[in-house]
Subunit: 347 residues, 4 copies
């Protein structure tokens, strides 16, 4: 379904080439401040920057809040955000209307619904995430007022890994890399890929600082389980790792256990979540991001009749999703944590 | 909460040292065959084998189905399985009743509920998974009758990686490794760790073959998202990766896209799920399993009053969770896929 | 929360004096036809007719479907309907902004949310039901294509009871009475009440014909239980009765049991639902509708500070809710039945 | 499904002639006291008293709490209650195994599940409510500690109406009538019905005192809507009315509005709920209870093959459900109010 969350239910709607995208947030407590400029700022972070790494479809994302808001504060009723689509171009998709694009969900969609997802990928489009970012911006800001900071950065693009960590540099480069040298390498890599009509994968890290201990649940709704669902609900995320990630496979218990002192855990190998519950250490989650599947190279595929053929995808698409996925993943982490916060209140 | 699934709702209950564990399955269609011997076999696969790798607490797991079953078939009403606990030994836990065990959820639990989880970890114990395996065995068998096969194996224990793949060997060694040489290495590693009072992490692979295309949902309930939640709901799982996993970070779109022919995808880099929907290829998910946190070595920690101290955990615990986590993960995958199957029927 | 249904989830949003009302329908199967003129017709049935019985706030209800629809058919993605508000007049409410209106939910709202519901009752306004009627019109039409007919009529207004039953007359008079003589009496009663600044209660009957046997569930989600929730979710409904209603209190089992023959139940005392499951007979539900609480007479009340005072409500409001509640109740019955239909498909 | 509640989820299981009935309560806050003797007392109130009005199947209802309880207090984990069945007698049902009993849900069950519900009505049996009463007893007691009192009485049995109201007399007579004269009349009526092999309907009133204002929700989960669902989920309830009930149909707004003073509502025509939210006045709900359908008289019916025939139901069944439905309805009201209480905490 199209709803996320159990206490704060966020429902998104809209297709890539329809008139608008939108989100309904049901379960926001009353009297919380909504700051439109903060929402706009997050939407701007998600928006392609006009550089080589991202798509050239740039939407203004001029949103409107049409319910649930009075005098800048929530009312307790559903808050609805509408974000018009203005820059869609369906002509690019006419030639491939019945052909399954490799790496996209077209084939699965067709088997499930009996139709193609429509121009621009319809509901499957990354455009859908604009509604998540708008919804996430609201709760991210509320959490921020409680002292909880959520942010992310690119750890790896292809073979280029961030070795240095300059936090203030993250938002100063189009790759959201925290490493100046890596950013220079990435610029060249992206240019080469653009020229080749190809794309590249990578990894991003998303963090939440100052989450109190005891958020989450011990069994099926473990905090890492709900964060896991949230992250895998973002297209192109093919892996989710907490804390030290793959290194944990080769670590002994005596190495990977986070021993504790009066001030909290002495290490953070677990990434802030143990037994499904936050332990007060920063939540650290790494996302494995596959290369964008829309490439200019010719690929083998089939159409809805099962006939084989080839496809060449036109238009300019994202070359690497890492930088643009960060605000989306931050939004999903914010929504997940806010839900855990409301759950704590009711228990 | 303690319920998993949206169409088939599985609720588990019970504490490690309480009288019994149990599961209620609500949403099973009527007239499906239940085969007790199949449930018993799955419980046996989860049970410690009396070897070095696993805990020496061995429960007979003699289950009873007390509702929802008539003449060996489901009735459409909730099916309840009770599994008595008989081998618990609470004395081992008396000395550490108010001390947070590193690597366990004790601290988070205490912050959430205001009490300690109780002897043997109470509800946080791995014993809880016996109810999942029983529930999963039922649907795994129903899926099997539809031709869907679910199985798993250990890919890595510490630095030991399975290089060979002998499928029939998996269930013939206590590590569930598909590689005879690796199993021999593992035997030595486990013996050394036992001697040292330490434990080790690893990786397992879980697969589902013959899942039809079009299962799952395109947005928040993507099939990989619900599988992700299912897998992270298993204690000790700190990472979930689909298909080629980490390799996808360095792959180009032209490499990672699964091109298609009339017979299906030509490759399976994506692990059987694209755009949140199955594509007909085998579902392949890799789990990163941390080392069991109960170690015999002395560790720094604090108690419920915040006072620092040390803890040494007595008793024999699992030395590596990989082999025993496999039937649990298979059960969770079965429950997730069965839910997706029911969702397809209603749509 | 603001969502109804378990398989088809309908979320409504919007406040009486906000820019628009809306509904998101998530869970509609793909490829169902949506007929805008049918939606418009249902909205017209709900709209005040400009006569004495109803409010004089008349909205054009020019709706827009902004997602989930391609070429007149559902896509399987959330279908969103927006209905602008254009005729609101907040000035009427300025004098009573902090005074609890008797018979309205203002006091409860203030205790729950810490604020007043806002001009026109905000989210508490009957205007909210326009979104339900739009959503219900869609599924009512789909059910109609399956042969299931849903309709309603006014059974009683104050002391005036429908004695005659002319089905075709129902939609020909502003009271939706099936009895010409009663309609003439009602005209006079309403005129008198208008002159007195007062309002009146009544009863309506809602029916669904040709619902197959076996819809519903046997325990908490009994079909009468979900219909009951649906009906009580309509403001002003203070009673819900199935079949013979109050007469059942004095009937013996030998009288109230519906005996059966090969063609179905021989009587319909139960109103089409037995044991929480439909039995193939028409579903018959009677709603007790209280008098509209907005009256021109002076009433004692308190304000948000707890200070006593008086209130006189200006503007023209509905004089009797029976006729306008019928399309709303039909919509809620349609949504409930459609949910039961989808549940049957998944089981 | 078999789960009630959104914050406190109560799942019941078990069939009339199976080994046991049970309930899992998930969502109980930690550290609440559980008093077994209170649960036993409520089960005793539901148990047939060995008099003429009720069935002669008397179960000891010796329950066991097998999870979620430590040292007499909740742990925050699911609390499971098991109640063995010991007095079932399936022989009585062998002759009618494939015949639809009029007034029971057999026909609907058969259409839904493809099988008969089983001996004693299986899951459809009134025996199912024992699990509700056990679960309700827990939260009823917690609410009582908050000052909220829930109780009920019989208002009418057949044509016999309670004219007097002696609260202390309610639990002193087998009919739970608050009127000594009416109880004497009822005794004679029941004796006559027993002799005739027939049964009778009636009405009961359920009340909750001291519910704070502001519980409930304004739209679909109105407090009256969730109470309505709860009450209609009890077999034999065919009508639910709040406050003044049917009288509201003929009342003017100036009569039915509850005007307010500083101490609260000046009247309680609405039954304590306005706009879906509690207003601080006692919650008053009247249930219309149909006659028990199991009668000794011969009735026309069909079997699973659609062939017509007759049925005569053996054994002793309840003659009027009013007295025994009261503790069940109190339990359902308690569960509904507790859910609303938890919802208030999270908002």
């Amino acid at each position: 379904m199209n709803t996320f969350g159990r206490y704060l239910k966020v429902t998104t709607f809209g297709e890539s080439h329809g008139p608008m995208m939108g989100a309904v947030l049901d379960g926001l407590p009353a009297n919380l401040p909504i700051v439109p400029v903060v929402i706009a700022a997050e939407l701007a972070r998600r928006r392609p920057a006009g550089d080589a790494v991202s798509t050239s479809r740039i939407e203004p994302d001029e949103f409107q809040i049409v319910s649930g808001l009075v005098d800048g504060r929530t009312t307790g009723s559903p808050l609805t955000i509408l974000i018009p689509n203005v820059a869609q171009n369906s002509h690019e998709y006419q030639d491939i209307a019945d052909i399954f694009r490799p790496g996209h969900g077209d084939l699965g969609w067709y088997h499930k619904y009996g139709t193609m997802p429509g121009p621009g990928g319809g509901r499957l489009s990354g455009r859908e995430t604009v509604a998540r970012v708008a919804a996430g911006a609201i709760v991210k800001n509320i959490l921020k007022e409680q002292g909880i900071t959520i942010f992310g950065y690119t750890k790896q693009i292809g073979a280029i890994c961030a070795e240095d960590y300059q936090r203030e540099f993250i938002e100063q480069n189009p790759y959201r890399l925290p490493d100046r040298a890596a950013a220079r390498q990435a610029e060249k890599l992206i240019a080469d890929l653009r020229a080749a009509g190809d794309t590249i994968g990578g990894q991003v890290v998303i963090m939440a600082e100052n989450v109190p201990a005891g958020w989450g649940s011990p069994i099926f709704d473990k905090l890492d389980a709900t964060i896991g669902q949230a992250m895998f609900s973002i297209g192109a995320v093919k892996g989710v790792l907490f804390g030290d990630g793959l290194s944990l496979a080769t670590m002994r218990g005596s190495e990977s256990n986070d021993q504790m002192g009066p001030a909290g855990p002495l290490t953070n190998h677990a990434g802030g979540i143990v037994g499904g519950l936050s332990n007060g250490a920063p939540i650290v989650v790494t996302l494995l991001v596959k290369a964008p599947p829309s490439i200019a190279l010719t690929q083998k595929t089939i159409n809805t009749k099962g006939n084989p053929g080839e496809i060449t995808i036109k238009g300019r698409h994202d070359c690497c999703l890492c930088p643009r996925i960060i605000p989306v993943a931050e939004a999903m982490l914010a929504l997940t944590l806010f839900d855990a916060f409301l759950e704590r209140k009711s228990a």
